[in-house]
Structure formats: C-alpha cells, structure tokens
C-alpha cells in the first residue's frame, strides 16, 4: 500500500470513524439446508440453500413458463420429508396432489391461502409461522404485484423472523422481481425455461436454466440446468433435478473460471 493511500485511509477513518472503511473479506458463512440435488448443492450454492436467509427464485421472462414454481414445489416436497413445511400460496396455483406426486409428506405440509395479490397478509402469515418455529417456508408470489408500500414492512419483519429462527425461506417471484424482494434476498436464483423434456411425443418435464444472480453467501455467477420431471400416474415420484455436465470455462483473462453448462442428455 502506498504512503498516499495509507494517509488517505487514515484521514477518512479519522474523519468518519474507524468503521467507515473495512476490507472486503470472504462472504459470511451461513448454515445450509441441503436440497439433495447435486447441481443445486454443488454448483449453485455450496452445501444447499442458506438457513436464516431469504432465497429468491426469480423468473427472467415476463411471459411463458420459467419453472420457478415447479422448482419451489419440488424443493418443498423434498423438505416435507424431513421437517414441517409451510407453503404460502399467493399465486393461487398450488395443487396438493402435485405435491404428493412429487413425494411430499402432506401431513407435514401446511398450506396458507391469503388470497391472490395479498402479499402483505401472506408475509404476515409467514412471519407468524417462522416465529412459531416452522423450519421451512415456501412463498409463491403471483404476477399481480401490489404497490411496495403495502407489503415491504411485512417483508422486513419476515426477514427478521427467519434470521432469528434459522428457517429456510424460499420465495418464487415473477419477472421482474420487486426491488424490496431483490434487496432482501441473500440468494437470488434466476430461473429461465430452457425447453420441454419430451418422451414419445409427450411432455415429461421442463428444463430450467438456473443462474446465481446474487449471493451473499457465495460468489455469484454460477449457472446450471436442472430437469424438473413431471410426475406421471402409476409411477414413483422422480428425483427433483437432474444435474447437467458442468465444465470449467476459462475466461480470456484467466482470472475467474465460471462453469459452462452443456445441454443435458436426452
């Protein structure tokens, strides 16, 4: 560090206090909930979804499928096999039968239906359950986004409750994600539909490109494709996701190697 830089830093600290300037260290470690899907736990987020933080599954396209709700329900189904799950259905699209097909333990699922577009009420309910000790919360937001002033305080209270109780909270939001949500989330996974999975002419699943747009727990920028297989009648529920082949992609300057996604087989 040069003398001039040192003196400038000393001046700033003297003027604005010692806390005014800090070195950026490694991201703060957070306890994680492993999803059981290798591509999510290994590539996108180290170890799994963070506990005590908000995870945002954000759609990237305003129209058409993004896979965020299917991914949310698949994660909730996985979680229900290990702990109680609360599902706040603000999108009005939840089919408990689909959850059961995904292998959910419905006895462990508590579904809250505050009404389409009533985000404030939904966040208040989610906060109550987090304060009561519910370890896993899923919130599905619909496209009818109310004005932020009516729900951002409820969101802030939910963030505080989730942090205090170490709960996993995953929110699926339509595109574009509201600014308070994007700000409050510690992990934002952008979901883009990458095509239907077909077999014998039938749609059997959806490929979703998931990219880490924001991460307070790890370096953002990772990207992968997961395959959400739709459950079929008279068959055992499928595993939630299908990892794709990920090859490190050296950049031109060679500084950072981000994973390169190769299309999934089949």
């Amino acid at each position: 560090m040069t003398d001039s830089l040192s003196s400038a830093l000393a001046t700033l600290r003297r003027r604005y206090g010692p806390e005014a300037l800090r070195r950026g260290g490694v991201p703060e470690a957070a306890a994680v909930w492993p999803t059981g899907v290798p591509v999510l736990d290994g590539v996108l987020v180290p170890g799994g979804l963070p506990r005590g933080r908000l995870t945002l599954l954000a759609a990237t396209a305003r129209q058409g499928p993004s896979g965020r709700l299917s991914l949310l329900q698949a994660l909730a189904a996985t979680a229900s096999r290990a702990c109680d799950v609360g599902y706040v259905d603000l999108a009005g699209s939840l089919d408990p039968g689909f959850l059961a097909d995904l292998g959910a333990d419905l006895d462990a699922c508590l579904v809250l239906t505050p009404g389409a577009g009533r985000w404030e009420r939904g966040f208040v309910m989610a906060r109550s359950l987090a304060n009561a000790g519910l370890p896993w919360l899923a919130i599905a937001l619909g496209c009818d986004q109310p004005p932020p002033a009516s729900w951002e305080h409820a969101l802030a209270a939910l963030v505080e409750a989730v942090a205090r109780h170490g709960a996993v909270c995953v929110i699926a939001a339509p595109a574009p994600p509201a600014a308070p949500l994007a700000y409050a989330s510690s992990l934002t996974l952008a979901c883009t539909a990458a095509g239907w999975q077909r077999a014998h002419g039938d749609v059997t699943g959806l490929r979703v490109r998931v990219a880490t747009k924001k991460s307070k727990v790890h370096t953002p920028g990772a990207e992968a494709i997961v395959l959400l297989r739709y459950p079929r009648p008279y068959t055992v529920a499928e595993v939630v996701g299908l990892p794709t082949v990920v090859i490190p992609r050296p950049r031109a300057d060679g500084a950072v190697a981000l994973p390169q996604v190769v299309a999934a087989p089949g």
Partner: protein, 403 residues
C-alpha cells in the same frame, strides 16, 4: 421398550463436594453432625470403603470412619441440581425419571441426532457427567427397568453396559438372588430350595413359581424374563406454578405492568418447555394497593407448553384487568400442569417440537383471517376422477387441544 439407567453419586454428596471442594477424595458423610440421631444420607467412596452405609446412624458412621467429614444435607441445592439434571435429560430423551441417586430415560425409538442406541446412550451419559462434574455415572441400557438397573449396578463409573433384546436371561443368570427387588422372605425361601442364582430361578416355570409364591411368583418370572413392562415414570408434576414480580413502587401505567406480566410468563414458559410440561389454565393477578386483588383466568384452547404460548395466553387476559388503584405486584399462575400430551421433544424429526406451536399459530391465523386460510391437505381415500378430489383439506390440530 429400551430404558437407560444411570447411577451416580448421591446428589446430596455432589452438592456437598461442590460447596467444599477441598473434601474431594476424602471420606465424607452427608446427613448432619454425628451427635444428631439421624441416618446417613450419602457417603463418599472413601467413607464407603471404611464401612459406612446409607441409612445407618451417623454416630455409628463416625465410629466406623473417624476421619470422615460430616456435612449437613443442603436440600435446596440438591433439589436445584435434580431439576438441572432433569432439564438436561429432557433435551435428550422424551421421558425422564430422576431421583437423588439414579436417572432413567426412555430410549425407545430412534433419535434424529444419533445413529444408534449406543451413540444416544453415550450422549446421555456425557451430559450427565458434565452436569454432575464429580464422578461420571455408571450406565446400563436394557429392555426393562429392572434389567437396566442391574446393568448399571454391574457397570463401572464412566462405562455403559448394554443388554440387547433377547439377552436379558443370559445377563441375569449369574447374578445372586439378592438382586431381586422382592420380599426377602421369598429370596430366603428360594435359597432354601437350593437355588443360588437368578438363572436357576429363571429355569423354573411360571406355574411352579405361582404355586409357591402366588402373584409375586409370577412377578419374579416376568422380571427374570425382562418383561416387567414397567417403563419410565415421569415425576408427578406440581399442580400449580406461580411467578410473582413485586414492583419497585406502585404502578398505574399499563406498559410496566405489561412488561412485568411478560417477564413472569416467559419464566414460567421456559420452565415448562425445559420439563416437557404444559399448563392447562392461566391466571393473572394484579395485587393492588389497599384494595382487593384484580385477577383474570382462562383455559387456553391448547395447553401452553413454552414461553411464546404462555405469553400469548397471558396477553389475552391482560385486557380483562382494570385495576382501580396502583398495582404493587404482578403474579402469573399456571394451573393443571401435566405432561405435554402428544408433544414430543425435538428428537425424532427436526421441527417436531415446534409442530404444536406452528399448529397453534395457524389456528390463530385462521381465527383472524378466516377458516380456509390455513389448512393441511390430505389425500382422499376415494379420489374419483377430478384432480380437486384427490385431496381434502383439514384444519391444523394442536396435540392435547380441548375440543
């Protein structure tokens, strides 16, 4: 059923050694001074080696061990230590029975945090060793209370003796008749028949034992088969707990009263949670200066089992209290305290302990926003063709809630 029995130094001796650490390793007799006509309550290993036994007169103990230090029993500290051990064990096992010299835990089922019964037992033993900090306990694990006790008695301090299912008879066979917890006249008569160990008695048929000793003979047979069926007896809870906060000066404002009531509720709720108990009735009393106390009581929809639930119940009562004069003290009472029926410590699945509080929160949300707001889906038995008929909605139910 699997039961863990831990035998440790008498808690009166532990508290005495905590109070007088310089006596560790020395012969110590707990009970009082030798001139008192009282029995020995506990004795340290050095005193036991000199011949001192529990129950013998203190004067006799002094004659047997002249170097012993005689200390009185600190009943309050002993009870406090017993409660502390009870709280520690309740975090590890759903049913716990603690006395001054031994603790029994129900290890039936499986624990989410431990791979097998052995690891679970080790965790219990370690927790006890940390809480007692004098000598690690001797631990026995078996399928019945009787066999677990004997296994603990056969083990050494700091060791665990496990008797697997089906091995009870082999374990009991070489033990002497005196190990049977029955009338000494029965053991004397068994010895008169030439039976010198439990294995010889176990070889008798239940009919033979019944013919000789009646109902007690059948009991002996069941004990020796490890089939006593006598599980862990959770201690009978006190019927009422009370927490009182005397205010520094008489108060007429609502906010200090609210905070005082909240503090009382949290203290009581935490105590309930530690012991896996629940209160069936809540009473809040404002002690008023130079006037009759103002009180309100209610039976909550679900028994209160933790600080949050207790505070919620107390808060709903505060609006009914309208003291006409300044309040000098606030008292919160929990009545009809019993085991938290249907509630499980957080053992078998993460979040189970919070399940009732979650259901209670959902019930409150339903009461506030409408009955269809918070529900659990359940697969229908006869689903039919339509997707919406594949499941039915049921309201969340709090275990132990009164209809």
């Amino acid at each position: 059923m699997r039961i863990l029995c831990a035998r440790y130094a008498h808690l009166g001796l532990v508290t005495a050694l905590r109070r007088f650490p310089e006596l560790r390793g020395e012969p110590v007799v707990v009970g009082g001074t030798p001139d008192l006509r009282l029995p020995v309550i506990a004795a340290s290993p050095a005193a036991v080696a000199a011949g001192v036994r529990e129950g013998m007169p203190l004067r006799q103990a002094q004659q047997l061990c002249t170097a012993a230090a005689f200390v009185p029993l600190d009943a309050e500290a002993t009870a406090s230590l017993r409660d502390e051990i009870c709280a520690v064990l309740h975090r590890l096992a759903p049913a716990v029975e603690v006395s001054d010299a031994e603790a029994l835990c129900d290890l039936s089922g499986s624990h989410a945090g431990y791979t097998d019964e052995g690891a679970w037992g080790v965790a219990v033993a370690r927790a006890l060793a940390v809480a007692l900090d004098v000598e690690p306990p001797a631990v026995g694990i078996a399928g019945s209370r009787f066999v677990a006790r004997l296994a603990a008695g056969q083990g050494r301090p700091g060791h665990i003796r496990r008797v697997r299912d089906g091995e009870e008879t082999a374990f009991l066979a070489p033990l002497p008749l005196a190990a049977l917890p029955v009338d000494p006249a029965i053991t004397a008569r068994l010895a008169g028949f030439g039976l010198d160990c439990l294995g010889a008695v176990a070889a008798l048929s239940p009919g033979e034992l019944q013919r000789q000793f009646g109902r007690e003979g059948l009991e002996v047979h069941r004990l020796l088969r490890g089939e006593d069926g006598d599980g862990v007896h959770a201690p009978t809870a006190e019927q009422t707990w009370s927490e009182r906060l005397v205010l520094a000066s008489p108060v007429a404002q609502l906010e200090p009263l609210l905070q005082a009531a909240r503090r009382c509720a949290i203290v009581l709720g935490d105590r309930l949670s530690d012991r896996s108990l629940a209160g069936g009735e809540v009473l809040v009393v404002f002690e008023v200066e130079e006037a009759e106390d103002v009180s309100a009581a209610a039976v909550p929809a679900a028994p209160t089992g933790n600080a949050t639930e207790t505070w919620t119940a107390v808060l709903s009562l505060l609006s009914e209290l309208h003291p006409q004069s300044p309040v000098t003290a606030v008292r919160v009472e929990l009545k009809r305290i019993s085991s938290a029926a249907g509630r499980q410590a957080d053992l078998l699945r993460p979040g189970d302990a919070a399940r009732d509080s979650v259901a209670a929160a959902a019930s409150r949300l339903s009461a506030r926003f409408g009955e269809t707001v918070a529900r659990r889906p359940r697969l229908a038995l006869d689903p039919g063709d339509l997707p919406e008929r594949r499941f039915v909605w049921v309201p969340p139910v709090v275990a132990g809630a009164r209809p």
